[in-house]
Symmetry: C2
Subunit: 331 residues, 2 copies
């Protein structure tokens, strides 16, 4: 039996052994956190168990269509329920459950279901596969191991987790197993189009307003290999925008044909600028971000510059130009 198979067996036994579960996902839950939370709830009830599903705060409205979403309680507004075991979903470490941790007595049995490479195995039991694309995929492994049926409602939750954590099956974590799982879930009655539309295509009014303004600031440089957009603090305020509303804006710069590096400068205060960097296939933007005190991945990184927008542009663009030039020199 492989280590992973052993952890599947132990997770199954954990669910069998206890009766009243508190199931928790991470603060500011995304599609996978919410989908895997609900999927775990469906599984526990299918096993004849009681399950209370909880998040530190409120679950974003956009997940309201997920079957069972109305049952997720907001810990900040609820009484602590009775439970004798805990399951965490999509949490890389204990702190990710946020203030719900105040509900957990010391020594409580805790099953940690996750896929993050940084997971520190904080549970008394841990079901973690770090090469899974989503926690929903780990849960699917468990369902397969336990030979449990997948009703349509559960399938919708798992599909949503898988879809969102693979960027709509576009990221490199989209493996043959991911697609096999997607196939099986569709066969359970999931309709892919409305979920994709809700999760991947719906944009907020504030996002459209920001996009209107940001596109007016588009600048191409380095012989059109670099494109950048600028959002001022005034833009954010006048558009009624939250942080989430800037999500994806940097891609408009990076996605232009011929562009290698896309940059979004977001003025947080008059002396503080958040910089998002994306590259297509050559430039290591993580190295650039790190050299300015930030971090991230080779193709997606970010940093904060303590200075004005003009300062930030000067610092970042000099480094991006140098990276492009060194590439050209090495070709």
């Amino acid at each position: 039996m492989s280590t992973y198979e052993a952890s599947l067996a132990s997770a199954a036994a954990f669910m069998e052994r206890h009766e009243r579960f508190l199931v928790i996902n991470h603060v500011n839950p995304d599609g996978d956190a919410t989908g895997s939370l609900l999927g775990t709830g469906w599984l526990l009830r299918q096993l004849g168990k009681q399950a209370v599903l909880v998040n530190e705060g409120s679950t974003p409205e956009k997940f309201g269509f997920l079957p069972g979403a109305e049952q997720i309680i907001n810990a900040s507004r609820a009484e602590k329920p009775e439970f004798d075991a805990v399951i965490t979903c999509d949490c890389a470490d204990f702190a990710r459950i946020g203030d719900v941790k105040e509900w957990l007595p010391l020594g409580m049995p805790l099953l940690n279901i996750d896929h993050h490479p940084t997971n520190d195995l904080f549970g008394t039991d841990n079901l973690v596969r770090t090469d899974a694309a989503a926690t929903a995929e780990v849960l699917y492994d468990l369902l397969t191991y336990m030979k449990q049926p997948i009703p349509q409602e559960m399938a919708v939750c798992l599909y949503t987790g898988l879809l969102t954590d693979t960027g709509g099956f576009r990221y490199s974590n989209t493996t043959p197993h991911v697609m096999e799982m997607a196939s099986a879930l569709l066969a359970c009655g999931v309709e892919p189009a409305p979920i994709a539309e809700r999760m991947l295509e719906t944009i907020t009014k504030a996002h459209v307003r920001l996009l209107q303004r940001a596109l007016q600031t588009l600048v191409l440089r380095d012989t059109d290999q670099t494109a950048y957009l600028t959002i001022t603090a005034a833009d954010m305020e006048q558009c009624g925008a939250q942080n989430d509303d800037t999500e994806g804006l940097v891609n408009y710069a990076r996605n232009i044909e011929g562009v290698e590096v896309g940059i979004l400068y977001k003025e947080v205060a008059s002396d503080k600028v958040k910089v998002s960097l994306r590259s297509r296939s050559i430039v290591d933007v993580a190295a650039i971000a790190q050299s300015i005190g930030g971090g991230g991945h080779v193709r997606a990184a970010g940093c904060t510059v303590h200075g004005t927008l003009a300062d930030a542009k000067q610092i970042v663009e000099q480094k991006v130009s140098a990276a492009l030039a060194s590439q050209e020199a090495s070709v």
Copy 2:
């Protein structure tokens, strides 16, 4: 043996029987037309046959990364090659091959591989499955039937066809079989991320320029249930835009949260306006388009108004408002 299985057998026999093939896809080829053309070429060569791949015109640069794309000849600039059999890919009727038809002698054996519901079975042999999401999927059926291996190069071509004709696995034609096929192709060594980026995320400079202008024209009406964008003939000219560059613009209107109907008005001439209509989940935009002499699907339709932009808006918006009002009345 089912009818479809019989057509798979006959398509396999067709390929075995002949030696020198001319393989043709449709005018203005998309990802599926190009991917299935190249996939057919890879299969024929694997069977030890000769294959000349041809399009009426030039193959768009964005498909240049597909393995073998450099072998596709442009009929308008080439001498007619020698061949004794023809295969058409992704063509619903004979006219779709465009001027290449002048190369085809009467009575030439022709295998028609396609998935369009409107396919009129124009071949001497026809391999058509109208519930397939892509011609690439039909070709995959044939490969499975023939027990042919799928080298990575062929897999990249088929994956691209499947990806583009399902809108990146977002359309309702994304079936369990589509995902199974995607899984199998990924297992052949396809890297999903770079293909998705090239096919689905790259935008032209002219598209960005049009988007800049179009977003400035955004209007919400019908208590924010309708959103519309306007592109003038001058915008098109000043942005250096082709027809393709307006693709997807209407979605920015439709994708705004709470919007049911998204509309793009595109002024073609001072007395001619093309109208694109998209709805989210309630309004039948095909019915609206039909009532103005156009057509399409329930959620995506279009029509041409012979009049000014103001005329077009008046005609269309009255109908959209009425459709929304009748929905509300019926709820």
